[in-house]
Symmetry: C2
Subunit: 423 residues, 2 copies
């Protein structure tokens, strides 16, 4: 029965019941962590052979490059071609870099501030104000980058097909709006995948700023939780066809495919954008770690090899996600005050509790030894205007721990809700 | 006999002789390259076992960290402790990062522009002018960083003990002078090592800017060409003792110890400087590639392990350097118009030809199929005011090719000199 339909008497009974549950929970002295989207040991073990790759006497790329020596800012074709196939983009437009795509995003935006990008009339530091479109809930580390650079972040809501395009189109006309964050596939934390229509509209919409850029963080491009892979739209071509060839800075990486933080990151973009990036990346350094790239090329073998690895990950992650969804359904479903996403890929479940109770829920969980990502962390400046969103990250702990933690989270969400309703 | 003491007749005879030599040289249709300080295949082979390290089932750092997962902005202690011993600095002050120390230098300076560093009253981008002390000849990639950022580079000459400290002390008093490039051991391209006295003066000198920084690029800290290692002075402590705790940003890396561009870079500095760096590096990303760090820790084993590897490099490089010096001596010594350094470590020999003939010498060599680093490249904006300096990089080619190339270079230098003298 919906929480709102309960009689005062029924609510009081429920509150007493939930409080008793919460005391039992605290008595367990738990120490559980659902905070970050880290792969589990089981997942990391899939790439165990990578620890001894490329292997002695194996250091030549397919074009004969000695990967042990300096050079090649673009990365080696052996791994670039493989990712080009996965992303459906010509290999010339895909650079392989060091481990972190976040690094590349930070560099692109901070360099746009210092120098302007290839379509800027002046460096962004010399603009009176720089604004940025932020679909919410979104990825906290994206927002931290723009926050650090003093950007004014403007939020737009997510729909089931991607960001609310009416809001995006209107904001994009503002010449001070210089960019937009996007996680187009299995988004963090919603799990939402942008529709082809949304991709096309983002590629073709009018913008007030000529140097407007969409950071297309395809972090979960192949991170399915089922046995099928999502379609990947070539937004670079869509944008080119629409007369906006330099609109997208596209990212991808192996961080949640092989080893988190020790993989290979990819940057795909238009020739002009890549040339601009190279003109500064080539001052910052000589080139990425090609040995690690070669090791990854050997480990995967082909684009199909990547997909095969991802099915192993799905086999490990899907039962954890199902368990979380089952517990949310069992414990909160009948009360109809909370909603949550049911992602088919990615690393997160986005839980909306009763308005005004997310922070309280997280605090109650913390007091009971269950660490959750801070309330509001999926919003710019950690400000969730409704105080209702909680990001759940079920990948790292073993399934039994997740079940224990989630049962506790349900209790906390319910307790915060009955408190809010005055019981 | 000195070129300047020749009679016109003798000079004419010599010129005819040199021109004939040069025609013979061109007839050989050479294709040789002495441009960059890259290690040779023989050197890269020393680290062959690294290609299969850390090895399957080996992924735990000494503190139990799973190096395959996210985290640890400082890098793992396993490799930090080893470099701390080599640099004579407490391990807490040494961070291990990704492959390139050049990356770190670029970040430190560009972030000082965007945000100001921890001692700045405002970001450097808001300064009317930023000036920088550049000992010359120096490292071209350093100068390219400051050039890209619009810094006014002020040169000071090198002496046998390091930069001319009288000039440095005077320049440092200018509040617009925000920093200085230094390669303190076996400098690029001179091979000069700073004396303890110079280190102490740099640590203690008065500066006009409170946020003045010395980029202490100790790229060749252990890169001896003999059987002994240079003393390494702990400039961080010297500066702290002198009341300037944040003066030095110290760099080091394994680029020319294991694999160039696929190694581990180190950043050592004061606690405040490290905290400032972390506050931005932690926005830019989650942490460095710890698997590669673990592989390096396993490969070296200890600081002595690093020194043992460096003696192998010395065994490979020293004969090449000796050959170059021998040829310079044999072919140019008697004419007394050129001078060159005789380094005991590092990767370069700095050759000064007759004033006004460096560019011509490089062009003549190019026309004969011998690629040399561009004349002037060891000076800011590639401007060698005397047009006399040429950087020789004898590491990459096999010894016989070096000998052929250097014999050609000597011919070109001599031809440019007799041309200059009107013969």
């Amino acid at each position: 029965m919906s929480l709102r339909d309960l009689t005062p008497e029924q609510l009081k009974d429920l509150a007493a019941d939930v409080r008793s549950h919460y005391q039992e929970l605290k008595a367990k002295n738990l120490n559980l962590d659902l905070t970050r989207g880290k792969p589990s040991s089981e997942q990391l073990d899939f790439a165990q052979s990578l620890l001894s790759l490329p292997g002695e006497d194996d250091y030549l790329a397919a074009d004969g490059t000695d990967c042990r020596n300096y050079g090649n800012l673009k990365g080696i074709t052996d791994i670039r071609s493989l990712w080009a196939e996965l992303l459906g983009v010509p290999v010339e437009l895909v650079y392989a870099q060091d481990s972190s795509s976040l690094n590349i995003m930070f560099d692109l935006i901070s360099w746009s501030f210092l120098f302007g990008n290839n379509d800027s009339t002046r460096p962004w530091k010399d603009e009176e104000k720089v604004r940025w479109i932020c679909p919410v809930p979104g990825y906290d580390r994206h927002f931290t980058i723009t926050e650090t650079l003093g950007v004014e972040m403007v939020t737009v809501p997510m729909t089931k097909d991607g960001p609310d395009m009416e809001a995006v189109r209107e904001l994009a006309l503002d010449p001070q709006v210089k960019g937009m964050w996007c996680v187009p596939v299995f988004g963090n934390p919603t799990g939402i995948t942008f529709s082809e229509q949304v991709c096309r509209e983002l590629a073709s919409m009018e913008t007030g700023a000529e140097d407007f850029r969409i950071v297309w963080d395809n972090a979960y491009a192949v991170h399915t939780l089922t046995d099928t892979f999502p379609p990947i739209y070539n937004v670079i071509r869509m944008a080119e066809e629409a007369g906006n060839p330099n609109r997208f800075w596209c990212m991808s990486s192996t961080s949640k495919i092989t080893f988190a933080g020790a993989g290979v990151a990819f940057f795909a973009s238009s020739p002009e954008n890549l040339a601009w990036y190279s003109s500064l990346a080539g001052v910052r350094g000589i080139g990425p770690n090609k040995i690690n790239q070669l090791a990854h090329a050997r480990y995967f073998g082909s684009a199909d090899g990547v997909r095969a690895v991802m099915l192993k990950h799905a086999g490990s992650l899907a039962p954890k996600f199902e368990r979380v969804l089952q517990i949310l359904d069992d414990r909160l479903g009948e009360y109809e005050f909370a909603t949550w996403t049911k992602p088919e890929g990615g690393y997160f479940i986005s839980l909306d509790v009763l308005d005004g109770t997310a922070a309280r829920t997280v605090q109650l969980a913390k007091d009971a030894g269950i660490a959750l990502t801070g309330a509001g962390s999926s919003f710019p400046l950690h400000h969730d205007p409704h105080d209702r969103n909680i990001r759940l990250a079920p990948s790292l702990p073993p399934e039994e721990e997740i079940a224990t933690a989630m049962d506790g989270v349900a209790t906390c969400a319910l307790l915060a809700a009955v408190e809010k309703l005055g019981a």
